[in-house]
Symmetry: C2
């Protein structure tokens, strides 16, 4: 099946917002066995929109359009599709009723303009929108499928996951496509590619690598007649990859380093405290992005000046001997955080984030210190990048090393 | 002039990377007086790419293509354009020489595949690429312009700014287009739209509003025969808008709240320290995203548990009386940060970030406390949103209020 995505909205052509919907939908299609051939972006201009829809209807089997379903005058996707199929738009009374109830619920008078969103054509099946008033359309005719969804990502993604993805899976029939993502840290993408290269050229399961802020991700995608067989193919390939990348793999699919660290602290009934210097609070911030982190994270210290370092209990002589960016200080920070904040584990992080090198340490030099009460350890790392990238990589390194120790 | 952007690369159709180039280029065109009608994304398939180029060449005056200029087999943009114009690709010896010198400089043998990137057709003028080996092309014929640039954003954006933007400005001739962005905080987009509505419908200067994480931005764009006149139009409209939005406006163009706060702390020779609770370090992190912030930011305290709050000198009785999310505690946090970390100003921030309401305070309740040694003040705010949005809004509120006091 050849697919085409059409993104509708003048704001996209003005560069006022980036088109994240197309990337999201594009990433969903391979696992359906649908080949995406084009993404077309067009503004709120009926003539150009109809032209774009006509072209798509001629050259593609599945057309997925997002945007232009709002209540205002310049939302013309419904009108353009009606023109494409020479059909009449009529107002669906059930939808109008639904809108009225919704607005009643929020105790707001329904603007008359919303009635426009209850318009539908004979060919279109209405797709409910749990997060907004603009319903989607599913149109199936001449062995082609045309789908329309609202532009706001949170409305579009839920409608896609709940309604349209299952409908398309059913229409594609037969083959089951599954995928699993393995997440690594500490290796370059080139290095990962090299070590798994025999699998990169395999047809089933396929393997692809992606460079992300938290490391290199590997996506295994298998195709089979049954779920069981598709799962078997993935499991087998996962064993191959784990044998090669071993403890560089820290998680899978929806795992984040902070959620994994949080889960194992919770499982072990341990608490954590942090002291960081040049990362300026990013470490504590990412740890506390996890809902419920208050059950294991005691707090954090951000030492951004000599006085603060002294106030936080770091020995001035130790600093003058080794510099603030050193293994010794990273360990001292871990111990001070642990003791001052009364946690089971102290995590210390210091890094040269620029703009210039500090104490002769090049930008990107990172030291992680960990004190769990029994043992003090530190790890030295170095990553290229600008100020914000080094801050991010330093925090990822700290959480990665902490995870290793918690295992 | 009608323009069209063509993004080339199968990775875009697989959703492996989002197409940020198109949004960047789209945002550049309005100030040139060029109307963007379409953005087309196509994969590394010569037939479909040539078809897309043909269509663009028929319907648009300016075509800007990015991607597909790499050294590998699947980079086919040069070949597709040669096919479009029925021209022969020949290798440019000067470019080959340049490549060889470049690789020599990095002490790497030049892969033979790179020679492909020295290919050029008679119609094309070569555009240098200071950040890579793939040069761009400028093709001007039949009253149309076709531009190709490499896909990597850092290569594309520099080539655009240095070479292509000036060339296009010259070609457009005559009219000067300037724009200025004013940044506000504390008002909803609907509210801002309402209060400046007369100007939103004006033709010159135009006015547009955008909702961003740090508030609502207003972009004024003027068109005139001379720079002086264009500047006068913007200045005049800026006066109108400032008269209405007044001290909700905190900055312009490239200002960020953290850079403005940093600049005025530096100017006044003042230092800052922070204590935050449920924002978990995001406040300190954003303050320290500014290069040079170590000259005025002493450090930060992240109080994420009762023991930590006590350890940081917050009175347990005060907490039990008012709760951790209260004006009183925000002020106490400011004072404690100021005194413990020896700064001129202490900034305290506490907010209900979810997942559930805390102490009967609904998610989105924010208290900012400021103690400058003379006076303690606090501000209560409330913003909707999920955990991460509330964290972000709370930090923006804190920096916004601090800026007001520093003025």
């Amino acid at each position: 099946m050849k697919a085409e995505i059409i993104s509708i909205g003048t704001e996209l052509l003005l560069g006022e917002i980036a088109d994240t919907n197309s990337a999201y939908l594009a990433s969903q299609l391979p696992s359906l066995g649908i080949d995406l051939h084009f993404i077309s972006t067009v503004g709120d201009n009926q003539q150009r929109l109809v032209g774009t829809l006509q072209q798509a209807w001629q050259r593609s089997d599945v057309i997925i359009a997002t945007g232009g379903l709002g209540p205002t005058q310049d939302d013309i996707t419904r009108e353009a599709i009606a023109e494409l199929f020479h059909e009449e738009i009529t107002i669906d009374p059930d939808l109008v009723k639904k809108f009225e109830d919704l607005f009643k619920h929020y105790k707001i008078d329904m603007p008359r303009s919303n009635i426009k969103q209850a318009g539908v054509i004979p060919s279109a099946q209405i797709i409910p929108n749990p997060r907004g008033t603009a319903p989607g359309w599913w149109i199936e005719r001449d062995n082609r499928i045309l789908i329309t969804m609202p532009g706001p990502p949170r409305e579009m993604q839920l409608m896609w996951a709940n309604e349209l993805l299952p409908k398309l899976q059913q229409r594609m029939g037969g083959t089951v496509i599954l995928s699993k993502t393995l997440k690594t840290f500490g290796l370059t993408e080139a290095r990962v590619d090299e070590s798994v290269s025999p699998f990169l050229s395999a047809a089933n399961p396929t393997l692809a690598t992606y460079a992300k802020v938290d490391g290199i991700h590997l996506r295994i995608t298998s195709k089979a007649q049954t779920t069981k067989e598709a799962q078997r193919l993935i499991a087998q390939r996962e064993v191959d990859i784990r044998a090669i990348l071993d403890d560089h793999i820290w998680g899978a699919d929806f795992d984040t380093l902070e959620s994994i660290v949080g889960a194992s602290l919770t499982a072990k009934g341990l608490t954590l405290a942090s002291m960081e210097s040049y990362t300026g609070g990013l470490l504590a911030n990412i740890i506390t992005n996890v809902a419920g982190s208050s059950s294991y994270f005691k707090g954090g210290l951000v030492a951004y000046s000599d006085e603060t370092r002294a106030g936080f209990g770091l020995d001035a002589q130790l600093i003058s001997r080794h510099g603030t960016i050193s293994a010794e200080i990273a360990e001292a920070m871990a111990t001070a955080a642990r003791e001052k904040l009364g946690a089971a584990i102290g995590l210390g992080l210091t890094a040269a984030t620029g703009p210039t090198e500090v104490e002769g340490k090049p930008i990107g030099t990172i030291f992680v210190g960990i004190d769990d009460g029994q043992r003090r350890q530190s790890f030295a790392r170095n990553y290229p990048g600008n100020r914000l990238q080094v801050k991010q990589r330093a925090v990822t390194s700290a959480l990665f090393e902490l995870r290793r120790i918690l295992l």
